[in-house]
Amino acid sequence: GDSVTQTEGLVTVTEGLPVKLNCTYQTTYLTIAFFWYVQYLNEAPQVLLRSSTDNKRTEHQGFHATLHKSSSSFHLQKSSAQLSDSALYYCALSGNTRKLIFGLGTTLQVQP
């Protein structure tokens, strides 16, 4: 079946260093869109990035991601992590059905 895999449950990084959160997927859908949602402590999830174009970089709030259909990936990256980036991050796939398929989430901890 269709699925989204986030391999790390927890990523810890030192402030100012680069960070990468992995997201891979399996799908039978022909037309797909991808999202990264971020959830800060005691808040609701909200969209951070979205993309539906292969090999096109999308950026927001210093984060960037590129959808690579050849490798079935949509990794999230930032060149310099900030303390305020500490949060739970979800990768999600939208296909031809009316629902999103979420990964299990990756908690990012940025330490001083």
């Binding site: 037309t31 869109a33 999202f35 808040e43 609701a44 999830p45 909200q46 969209v47 979205r50 539906s52 979800y90 939208s94 059905t97 009316r98 629902k99 999103l100 979420f102 990964g103 299990l104 989430g105």
Partner: protein, 113 residues
């Protein structure tokens, strides 16, 4: 920006109790969703709807009923609550599917004793 509200924000009930969680969105979105969030399981879809009177079964529907009374209002019903339903519940809405994002409400924390 989409506005999704949920009530109550916190609820404590006993095993076997009857609970209704409410969700309202004020952006004329067609699609509404109920999720539960649990550590280690992420966000799991319970029920969803693409219009008033419509109901679709999600991925973890057992023990839950839902009803979409209007375009704005979507309710989640737990008629015989169990401790396994202790969770953080989110409602979300979206204009459509595909490239349309889902807007989440603030969540309801439910504890079943």
């Amino acid at each position: 920006e989409a506005a999704v509200t949920q009530s109550p924000r916190n609820k404590v009930t006993v095993t076997g109790g009857n609970v209704t969680l409410s969700c309202r969105q004020t952006n004329s979105h067609n699609y509404m969703y109920w999720y539960r969030q649990d550590t280690g399981h992420g966000l799991r879809l319970i029920h969803y709807s693409y219009g008033a009177g419509n109901l679709q079964i999600g991925d973890v529907p057992d023990g839950y009923k839902a009803t979409r009374t209007t375009q704005e209002d979507f309710f989640l019903l737990l008629e015989l609550a169990s401790p396994s339903q202790t969770s953080l519940y989110f409602c979300a809405s979206s204009e459509g599917t595909g490239v349309y994002e889902q807007y989440f409400g603030p969540g309801t924390r439910l504890t079943v004793l």
